[in-house]
Symmetry: none
Subunit: 214 residues, 4 copies
């Protein structure tokens, strides 16, 4: 991966992402599934073209190279995973003016676990990239850090002040909460049977609340 071009390609790609043709969407969908299943390097242009039902030349007519396809695929995942934190937190969780820790935790758990459940393929690709793509790690960290600063940490601080949550370092609270939630993704990947998602959400929420209560 030519890492030096990542940012440049990213910006170029973003421009074109607003109005994708039907064909481009098919290519991206095919690429997403293949990248997630086999990894980026192990996926060939020919496989993408075939799965998308177009010619290889057509793939390259719309995207300058394979890396651009990766970026075009990652961008919505990236946004969906992280920007939605802001949107959904604000609209679903924070904006409702939660008073109890219970409601807060339950909502966060429901929100994120549902997201994981609905977007397992996208997340698989994202995790794969986190392991080997240094540039991507930086982008994720920058974006994720900002979201935390803006939305999550202030809420946790508020709970601390109100004495509704144990006085733990924020990083530990996040490690416990997110770790437990992300472990749900691990179960999906490993194809381990789970309880029905609604039940999972309830039990996990209860556990986390118990752990975090002062």
């Amino acid at each position: 991966m030519q890492e030096q071009n990542f940012r440049e390609l990213y910006l170029q790609t973003l421009e074109k992402m607003s109005d994708l043709t039907e064909r481009q969407k098919k290519v991206l969908q095919a690429a997403l599934e293949l990248f997630a299943a086999q990894g980026f390097e192990a996926t060939t242009s020919a496989q993408i073209a075939e799965k998308a039902g177009v010619s290889v030349g057509s793939v390259y007519h719309h995207f300058p190279n394979k890396q651009a396809i990766l970026i075009a695929v990652l961008t919505p995942v990236f946004r969906g995973t992280l920007e939605s934190v802001a949107d959904e937190f604000m609209t679903n969780t924070f904006s409702r003016g939660f008073v109890t820790l219970d409601e807060f935790i339950t909502n966060v758990v429901r929100d994120r676990m549902t997201y994981i459940h609905d977007n397992a393929t996208e997340l698989k690709l994202m995790f794969g990239q986190l392991l080997t793509n240094v540039q991507f790690v930086e982008q994720i960290k920058a974006f994720f850090g900002k979201q935390l600063e803006l939305f999550v940490l202030p809420t946790i601080e508020r709970f601390k002040k109100e004495g509704k949550i144990a006085d733990l370092p924020n990083e530990i609270i996040l490690q416990l909460t997110l770790g437990t939630i992300v472990a749900y993704f691990g179960k999906l990947i490993l194809n381990i049977e789970s309880l029905p998602i609604e039940q999972e959400i309830n039990i996990i929420s209860t556990l986390l609340i118990k752990a975090l209560r002062p």
Copy 2:
């Protein structure tokens, strides 16, 4: 990846793993680092040879193909990750006949977090394979499942009977515990600052104990 040969190659490789020459160790170390950093597919034989300070021909003299190198690298990781559960659990934890949940949890957390801390590179490679290597997933599941059946679950059951732990489904207990522990690996990967490991172990243990107490 020629998946049909995985098991066969694995067995062949195991045989030779007992007495590795100096040269072979250098190759495996180089391969480990490159696979972890770039992924298996993105790593070329030439890179491995160069990093190991040997010729390409030499690499192929000791290993029949690139996949065999992967297996040879993965095997100790695999064992180190999972077999050690047995060893260490039995020698350090279980065999001592713990009576309190506190001691049990604290020991598990210390054991696994220390392992993660000391073997981040190996684990990175393992996670990468978990995402794309179906055969590997099966092996991991089989092995991990057996270890759980043999050592971990009986202990948890014992605690349940003794009323020392909340009456939760085992999978939830594991999700909470392992998720929180594995999140420590996430921090390492993302290069996020942590507390000193001793402190992390203490706080995390305390939190998990609090969550799991009846």
Copy 3:
């Protein structure tokens, strides 16, 4: 380059060259500049279309293929370079009934150096083709040979008979004269500073006259 079609394409192209649309002229101008700067092979249809400000499809609407564009571009160059010899020689030089070698040489030098000066791009393309395009070489030779036979050599012979020029083989006279003139093109290509063209013409003419005098 499909050489077998060159002549056929050439004849087809000639027919259409008399009445070029505005669009076709833009395409040919763009192609001329790109072919001269980068060479024929290194220039893509897309580049021509873009530089001409038209679509790729439009280029192919007017010309059957890339080679036809080359021919359409070369033809006027070809004619401009060689047919003009006839025109200009007859109207400017020969028809005036020169009596002195001085006037003859000075006029030839002025005529050709001015042409080179005004058509450097076209000539660059022509020289490029002379190096690699066998068909083109044949055409140039045939055409050039005819012009020489008809206009230039008779004049030289006349001068010889009149004792106004040294008794040298014609090919040597041409080598000296044309070589020195074409070297002016070399200076342009290499971006080497020259004297003002009027001065160049005078000095070069003087030198050639001195060399060719009996």
Copy 4:
């Protein structure tokens, strides 16, 4: 042609040029002939490999890309064309302490025309590159300029001081001399019959001497 890398590739290539294997020489010889006959862009790796009697992979084992082959081919041409000016001028011409303009001109003409006669293929490639390769033009100019400054111009100046040569601008003297000599190359390219080379040298020398005498 990725022009930004030309210099870098050039330097890398030079290092390896000192000890070429038999196989590399065959590849370079094949490439030289094909590039000269068809041009760089029109020559495929497969053609080079076939003509050299090796596999395509083998070509790329020794040269990182097609451009590196071009550079490796051009370098000796470049050197042969220009460095030899220094060597041969010094050993054959200048060092003999010529006293007459006649001997000087005759030697230069013989030296360069013989070189052209013996290296027409190499020169064809070089001229082709001069037309389209900006980087190469710069290298040629720099090198050629230096050779002129060091060897040729001082000699011309000496002749001027001694009153053995007409008082003309140096650039004009070069244009006349080199133009006439290079025109010999033109004849070869156009496949125009010449006199026997010894005779050509004599007549051309005589003409140039006549033109340059005070």
